[in-house]
């Protein structure tokens, strides 16, 4: 079979996301949510927090809070404390403020701060062209994040259909997508890339490593994510961040999600297959 016929033989394989939810939620670990965020005595608080290898879980009298920006989705809390934690299949885990990644008691961060961040971002990205160009920089990833970013152009996600393209030049870039823990050696190259981008520009921290340093931080060579180096607009947790999470984060950062979906925040979009 010649290649052109092969290319047509499967018909349309591309997801309809974000217009429709995608069914690929089966068994998928999008994020961890709290089932029972109530607080406990000191002993219980220490026991629950100690489960997490990255310090993502914080417990006090007010309740349990889980910082998805630190979570590497190892599943230990879910396995050991199913009474308190469960996996959420939704890949829509991105947030516009660092605080909005914290779930559990008190809800997802400070609502007014989030609204402010959203409004400011919306004002800035209004001037962006209809098609958007992304510059990717790896600041010390484990290599898996690049696969997930690259997956966005495969036929199953095909972000070109949404007018999203990757560019090699920072001068043509609207969005800087950064993967990795933010190594000391990448501080300068990151800043140079950011400075070469025209305004308005959006910065997306892709993955738990880029958000907080994940399990790799702290070492003598790492920053705790890239937030200290760049003005991050969108945080996308994940270890690595899945393609749907990245896509959701990109659309969120560009103001391309309608309000209903934005408001939905972390609720499930994964339906039955």
């Amino acid at each position: 079979m010649p290649w052109v016929t092969r290319g047509l033989s499967d018909g349309i394989v591309t997801t309809r996301y974000p217009r429709r939810p995608d069914g690929y939620g089966d068994g998928f670990r999008g994020a961890v949510r709290t089932v029972d965020p109530s607080g406990g005595d000191a002993e219980e608080a220490a026991a629950v927090a100690a489960v997490c290898p990255t310090g993502a879980i914080h417990v006090d009298r007010a309740g349990v809070r889980l910082d998805r920006g630190r979570c590497i989705l190892c599943g230990r809390c879910v396995a050991e404390r199913p009474d308190r934690f469960a996996f959420d299949p939704s890949p829509e885990v991105a947030g516009l403020t660092r605080a909005s990644l914290v779930v559990g008691a008190d809800g997802p961060g400070d609502a007014s701060e989030l609204a402010e961040a959203r409004a400011a971002l919306a004002r800035r990205v209004r001037a962006l062209r209809r098609s958007v160009h992304i510059r990717h920089v790896d600041a010390g990833s484990d290599g898996a994040a690049e696969w997930e970013v690259n997956a966005l152009v495969n036929p199953l996600y095909d972000v070109h259909r949404l007018g999203i393209f990757f560019t090699a030049s920072p001068r043509h870039a609207d969005l800087l997508l950064v993967t990795g823990v933010g190594t000391a050696a990448m501080v300068e190259p990151l800043q140079r890339t950011f400075e070469a981008m025209p305004e308005p520009r959006v910065v997306l921290a892709a993955g738990t490593d880029a958000t907080s340093g994940g399990l790799v931080h702290p070492t003598y060579a790492t920053g705790g994510g890239v937030g200290d180096v760049l003005p991050v607009d969108v945080w996308v947790p994940g270890s690595p961040p899945s393609p749907f999470s990245l896509l959701h984060g990109i659309l969120l950062g560009l103001g391309l999600l309608d309000d209903r979906r934005r408001a939905a925040g972390g609720t499930s979009s994964g339906g039955p297959r």
Partner: protein, 545 residues
């Protein structure tokens, strides 16, 4: 073990002066495969050279800081039946030892790494230029293994690679660290007179994360999670190699159902990595349809893995002593999904391998001189594409591969096409292995399900003899875990002292093979670059540490 020891003694016999070297087996359990030899630092180079002469393959040099300020140098030698660790101690304050590189050139990069991390100088090394951590002169060094590490961020000297070659008509072209396109960060410097290539050099320090020191700060349970993130595209291999070392030190054998599930995940990992390499070849060769189709298959396989365990990269599956639990998706459904994918992959890869414009682009591209490959002891598809039949799956029989039926894929030409041929064969084999493993698992599952406590957590407190997991409490000692990662042989040197992880050193194929990268540039550098890089299939994360 007895064969291996006979081998070591036989080596010593050729030089009576060294035959007195004490040879001890770590021998903590049935799966143990490391022998240990202690020599004086001044004898390290000669001992390693003897071992290489006797047929051993030099596979790395690791340094470990001791609490008292001393440093241990540990050379890894892969022999017919085991991995020997040849150790030499440097007393506190000693910063020199005779270099291995003049007699064993493969030691070059390792001695540079040791210099970067410890400040220890290999006397006689041809050029200890920074590789993974270019620190300004006189800076404190991280010294992994030592107490605590530097405790603050060390700021590397980020000056670009200096030009080495001088002359008229010289062009210096820096690639990276930030690449054009979605790539991992790496630095290349090409120095060329027109289209000739006098030199290509590479450094990986931009991505250096200080992984070695981080391992020292983690407990056993967390360390396996870090291993999964050393080289994120080979998470399963890393978790397995680390676990393999721990299991040796604990003297436990992984229950067969867990072994089978590990094989299924490891081989799925190999398939997606090999597909990734092929996709990048297609991209470079302008094979748009093949590119789209193979990346679709790759994505579907990642989704299948995610159904099987909840994670697209298989993280969380392998734990020391076994696996974290049974597959989270019905085995029969997985098998039928897999069959469909296998058919599609086979058909598209088959078509690609008879597409003349694709084959022409790879043939004679990035050829590695056979003597260079042999001398370096290249691993993985890079070595096998040049006729080196090394594959941990065949060389270490203490795993289920033998019973599942497996043959090492080898090609001889040493070019990008030969490496592609190796991957094509391995993809076919890997599908077969996954099917075999899942078939057997599927037959056993009903019986396993019927028994209580079939997950690690349910088993807590139930003691050993468990189907998916057996408690693996390591005794003190040193062990080398070995696994064939998609990139090639992956070794984990693990030292446990006082029940703590005193040293964990992943020896990634990406590091070992990357040193050969410049040797592959013999044609037109600009048009060949993408194919050489894709055909090496390495991960800068694994190389940078």
């Amino acid at each position: 073990m007895s064969d291996a020891q006979a081998h070591a003694v036989g080596t010593g016999d050729t030089d009576p002066g060294r035959s007195a070297v004490p040879t001890t087996s770590s021998g903590p359990g049935p799966t143990s495969a490391s022998a240990q030899v202690v020599v004086a630092a001044t004898d390290l180079a000669a001992t390693v050279a003897d071992q290489v002469e006797a047929g051993g393959r030099f596979a790395g040099l690791v340094a470990t800081a001791r609490p008292d300020g001393a440093t241990t140098l540990q050379a890894l030698l892969v022999r017919a039946k085991d991995v020997a660790v040849i150790s030499a101690a440097l007393p506190p304050g000693a910063e020199h030892y005779p270099s291995l590189t003049p007699t064993v050139p493969a030691a070059d990069w390792y001695e540079r790494e040791v210099h970067d991390l410890f400040g220890i100088v290999a006397d006689g090394h041809p050029g200890l230029d920074p590789l993974v951590l270019p620190l300004p002169h006189g800076t404190v060094r991280p010294r992994p293994g030592g107490p605590g590490g530097p405790g603050r961020v060390l700021h590397p000297d980020t000056a670009p690679l200096p030009a080495e070659v001088a002359g008229e008509g010289l062009f210096t072209i820096p690639y990276g660290p930030v690449r054009s396109g979605v790539f991992e960060t790496i630095e290349y410097l090409v120095e060329t007179f027109g289209e000739d290539i006098p030199s290509l050099r590479t450094r990986v320090h931009y991505k250096h994360r200080g992984i070695d020191c981080r391992f020292g700060a983690l407990g056993l349970d967390d360390a396996v999670l870090l291993a999964e993130r050393v080289e994120g595209t080979a998470s399963v291999a890393h978790a397995a190699a680390f676990s393999c070392a721990i299991e040796q030190l604990a003297g436990v054998t992984v229950p067969r159902p867990a072994q089978l599930l590990r094989v299924a995940h490891a081989e799925l990992e190999r398939i997606v990595n090999h597909l990734d390499s092929m996709v990048r070849h297609c991209e470079g060769a302008g094979q748009a349809v093949a590119n789209a189709r193979l990346s679709t298959h790759k994505e579907r396989l990642l989704q299948l893995r995610s159904r099987l365990c909840g994670h697209r990269f298989g993280r969380g599956v392998v734990v020391p002593g076994g696996v974290s639990g049974p597959p989270s998706w019905p085995v029969d459904t997985t098998l039928s999904d897999l069959e469909r994918l296998e058919r599609a992959v086979r058909s598209d890869v088959g078509a690609l391998m008879v597409t003349p414009s694709f084959l022409d682009r790879l043939r004679k591209t990035g050829p590695l001189p056979p003597q260079v490959v042999a001398e370096h002891g290249a691993v993985g598809p890079v070595g096998r594409g040049s006729g080196l039949a090394a594959d941990v799956r065949a060389d270490r029989p203490a795993n289920p591969y033998r019973t599942l039926g497996f043959e090492v894929a080898v090609a001889r030409d040493g070019d990008a096409l030969a490496r592609q041929h190796v991957r094509v064969t391995e993809v076919r084999q890997s599908f077969h292995l996954v099917r075999q493993a899942l078939d057997e698992l599927g037959e056993e599952l009903p019986a396993l399900r019927a028994r209580p406590g079939t997950s690690q957590h349910a088993a807590a407190g139930h003691g050993p003899g468990h189907e998916w997991w057996t408690p693996a409490v390591p005794g003190d000692g040193i062990a080398v875990g070995a696994v064939e990662a998609p990139q090639g042989e992956l070794l984990y040197l693990v030292e446990v002292a006082g029940g703590r992880l005193a040293r964990v050193k992943p020896r990634c194929a990406s590091f070992h093979n990357l040193a050969l990268f410049p040797a592959a540039f013999q044609g037109d550098i600009f048009t060949d670059f993408v194919f050489i890089e894709a055909s090496f299939g390495l991960s800068p994360a694994g190389a940078a540490g």
